[in-house]
Amino acid sequence: MGKLTLEELRKLRESTRREIEKRETTDKSVQVLVGMGTCGIAAGARDTLQAFVEEIEKTGLKDIVLKPTGCMGSCYAEPTVEISMPEMPTILYCKVTPEVVRKIVDSHIVHKQLVNEHVLDKPAADILH
């Protein structure tokens, strides 16, 4: 396959965008924020982000906003990832290696089950229930 040109990139993107209902991040979208400050980078957050790209492609999930962000404050627990999605509380996961990414995509995003051993922060139990 030859080198991808900017025009080919534009067309590839257009062909898949017609399948995706593009919208702002609302309560209908899944938003994944990957902490990528100095601490995150040192802990391997770039590999975490890449793992999300690969896993989301593999599972065929659509309408996922995926963004690197700056340090989210829990440097001791990096890589950290915040997941916001409908019908689930917003959760901050810690020590998210590429292996943990696969668990989060399957358990949290697909099956709406927390990956408890990696939850760093979540609403109080009475709010969860």
Binding site: R10, G37, I56
Partner: protein
């Protein structure tokens, strides 16, 4: 110190973005100088800049301006980079003017035994372009006479957004193709 050189460069580029820049420029150039196989990297921005005192303190590992973490007493990005250049017998220069911006340059000899693992250059450029903010970013990559340029605004115009997994995947592939072609 970061494990990969690309991690260090991303860290420095992030500083440039977080300085409130309208434009960040990254030059990543392989250059043959006689028998020396040099990598030259320059990160320039038009952000808030630093006065002389702040610039000096920014290179102190026990200084942080408190923007990201109030009360924190370390800022390791620039000291890590300076340490790397010292370790490799390279060069490190930084200039800044308040209200005008900052320009950071470093040069490393690829054949030096202490040259660090570089990491994936295409992935580095992808990660730089994904940094959140209203800034634009230009990346100029050269290996000798051959090279390519990337402009964030142009890529967003082509792809609509860089904030989903599919866009990131396509961007990585596009940049990977450019890198493989030089």
């Amino acid at each position: 110190m970061h494990f990969r050189l690309s991690d260090t460069v991303l860290d420095v580029v992030q500083n440039a973005v977080e300085a409130g820049s309208g434009l960040v420029v990254l030059d990543y150039i392989d250059h043959l100088d006689g028998d020396k196989n040099l990598l030259r990297v320059c990160v320039a921005d038009d952000g808030k800049g630093m006065d002389e005192e702040t610039l000096k303190r920014a290179q102190d590992p026990f200084y942080s301006d408190g923007t990201k973490h109030s009360g924190r007493k370390v800022g390791l990005g620039l000291p890590f980079l300076r340490q790397l250049c010292d370790q490799c017998g390279g060069r490190f220069e930084i200039e800044s003017r308040p209200g005008e911006g900052t320009s950071l340059f470093f040069e490393l000899d690829r054949d030096n035994v202490d040259f660090p693992p570089e990491g994936d250059v295409a992935a580095l450029f992808t990660d730089c372009l994904l940094l959140s903010g209203t800034h634009d970013m230009a990346i100029h990559r050269f290996r000798g006479e051959e090279g390519y340029s990337l402009l964030k605004s142009e890529l967003i115009s082509a792809m609509g957004s860089l904030e989903d997994a599919e866009a990131i995947r396509l961007l990585t592939r596009y940049i990977g193709d450019q890198e493989a072609g030089i």
